[in-house]
């Protein structure tokens, strides 16, 4: 079996006495779309922060492409080809849409012309091209989410980690986002996606990792995860789980 692209081994993260992640282990293989789901407060974003170096986990290790990136600064993993987006979008407000994306593109080039070309190409792909000269601050939330992805894509990642990139979008926008994810997969970009919208991610995911109260409770193909009792219990509570057993 080939070595996984992202290998997360036994990550534990505590905030005081609160255990946000407890001994979480999973892997993402090259070319896969893996989604990370779980109820609110399950520790998904914390895990993202541990993987990308925004937090220093108490124990456990993270390997990307065989390189230990545990507790390395975030820019280090980005340079290796692991780029993330933020759940709370962080546009560079005073810059235009194009300048936002160019800033990402500068990771792989020092030339302004080249950065501009990369940016235009990615703006086409993410349907932002006609807004390229608009200040990022004046975009709608859906466009800000797109911009967040566009800027990350401009760094030419091997693997992209999307933190709730679809939250707050309407049905058509979600369809677009799903198409975009599949398009990226075809381009050979591996994806790790945190999402709440099940109908959006179940169809596109190769595998689903489920977190509950900081622990991993399932890691399987989508069909098996949806019928997994522990997952249903985590999402719907004990009572509904009992009912489903009777029937």
């Amino acid at each position: 079996m080939p070595e996984p692209l992202l290998d997360v081994r036994g990550i534990t993260m505590k905030f005081g006495s609160l255990v946000a992640n407890e001994d979480v282990t999973f892997a993402v293989n090259e070319g896969e779309i893996v989604s990370l789901i779980g109820p609110n407060g399950a520790g998904k974003t914390t895990l993202f922060n541990c993987i990308t170096g925004f937090y220093k986990p108490h124990s456990g290790r993270v390997f990307f492409n065989g390189i230990d990136i545990t507790a390395k600064p975030p820019h280090y993993s980005a340079r290796l080809g692991l780029t993330r987006t933020f759940q709370i979008v962080k546009p560079l407000k005073e810059m235009t849409v194009k300048e936002n994306v160019m800033t990402g593109a500068f990771l792989r080039t020092s030339g302004k012309k080249q950065a501009e070309l990369t940016a235009m190409e990615i703006l086409e792909l993410t349907h932002l091209a006609e807004k390229s000269d608009v200040p990022a601050a004046s975009l709608t939330i859906a466009d800000k989410k797109r911009l967040e992805i566009a800027r990350a894509l401009a760094t030419r990642p091997k693997m992209l980690m999307l933190d709730e990139a679809m939250a707050g979008l309407n049905q058509t926008e979600i369809k677009d986002a799903m198409e975009l994810c599949l398009g990226l997969k075809r381009k050979g970009i591996t994806l790790l996606v945190v999402e709440h919208i099940m109908e959006a991610i179940m169809p596109i995911s190769d595998r689903v990792v489920v977190l509950n109260a900081g622990k991993k409770i399932a890691d399987d193909v989508p069909e098996n995860v949806t019928s997994n009792e522990e997952v249903i219990k985590a999402y719907l509570g004990e009572r509904y789980n009992a009912k489903s057993k009777k029937s």
Binding site: H75, A78, L92, S138
Partner: protein, 328 residues
């Protein structure tokens, strides 16, 4: 949008500044032009770390003073040419900037600003009690033969003006080059959000450090020139908060984060402060700052982008149609 113009606005600005002292022969006016270039240049230097990278420094007098003292002490004690002193001062200020700001970059927002303020005060206190550099008494630079090597000119202010213009141009072009290239994009990304910048691969500490070092180097060069021009320095002149604050205020008034901002700001503040000093003498001390304070309040209330913001608004109105099309 700028491409339609025949000349880059910077070239026009350079040209106008350069010919002004040759049109007006008044010695006071020459003095004001030199002070204008020094402060506009310091504003450009400060703008790199604060305007572009968003790290507010209230202690730039420290770098200015180190530049002034390095060349002066070397000239006074060892008769080393101020040009060599200027280069050593630049190196020393760059080194101090790196050593001092590296730990400070762990501080965010206001705390960083307070730290720079404190460090500048500490450096001032060191110079006040340091006997080798004549402490609080200050150093009168020995008057030597006029000439480029000694960087002393006694019959005309024009050579000082030309040197000031050269360093000013270097400062403006450095800031312009940074703004137009990768480093400018990276510094602005750091200003607008450190986490977002890190996530797309920007080594935020490294770039902040670079920006601070470049900024300090430019400030130090002006320090040497200032010392050679006034021919006397003491810690209260060059390390004072007045210098730090003037740099901050004129840039904010003109337009923070733009290469035109410090030029506009200095063109208002420096004539204001020099002419009030000339006309009102000692009794008028501080009048300039009162007027300037009022201007700052007005700008903060009505045009937070500085005077430059007013121009930008005019331009935006002209381009209004394109803009509306782009947003729909």
């Amino acid at each position: 949008m700028m491409k339609k113009m025949k000349f880059h606005p910077l070239l026009v600005i350079f040209f106008v500044i350069l010919i002004l002292p040759f049109i007006n022969d008044n010695i006071n006016f020459h003095h004001i032009m030199i002070m204008f270039l020094i402060y506009a240049g310091l504003g450009e230097a400060w703008n790199i770390i604060t305007g572009f990278a968003g790290q507010t420094s209230f202690g730039h007098a420290a770098f200015f003073g180190i530049g002034a003292y390095t060349s002066t002490v070397l000239f006074y004690r060892m008769h080393i040419s101020p040009w060599a002193g200027m280069i050593l001062g630049i190196l020393l200020a760059t080194l101090v900037a790196a050593v001092v700001s590296y730990p400070c970059f762990k501080l965010k927002g206001h705390y960083f600003a307070i730290a720079t303020l404190a460090i500048a005060e500490i450096i001032k206190q060191i110079f006040i009690s340091w006997e080798y550099v004549e402490g609080a008494t200050g150093i009168s630079i020995p008057v030597m033969d006029e000439g480029i090597l000694n960087m002393q000119f006694h019959t005309s202010k024009i050579p000082y003006f030309l040197i000031a213009f050269a360093i000013f141009s270097i400062a403006v072009l450095t800031a312009h080059y940074i703004e137009q290239n990768k480093m400018g994009f990276y510094l602005k990304a750091i200003r607008e959000g450190g986490d977002a910048a890190e996530a797309i691969g920007i080594d935020t500490v490294k770039y902040k450090l670079f920006a601070m070092m470049i900024s300090a180097a430019l400030s130090a060069a002006f320090g040497t020139l200032y010392a050679q021009y006034i021919l006397y320095i003491d810690p209260f002149m060059v390390f004072t908060m007045d210098v730090s604050m003037k740099i901050v205020l004129l840039t904010v008034l003109g337009g923070l984060g733009s290469i035109y901002g410090p030029i506009i700001g200095a063109a208002i503040l420096i004539p204001l402060s020099e002419y009030t000093r000339i006309f009102l003498g000692g009794t008028g001390k501080g009048v300039d700052l009162i007027i300037f304070g009022a201007l700052i309040v007005a700008v903060a209330c009505f045009e937070p982008e500085g005077i430059l913001g007013i121009f930008k608004k005019g331009q935006r109105k002209k381009r209004g149609v394109d803009y509306a099309r782009a947003t729909t």
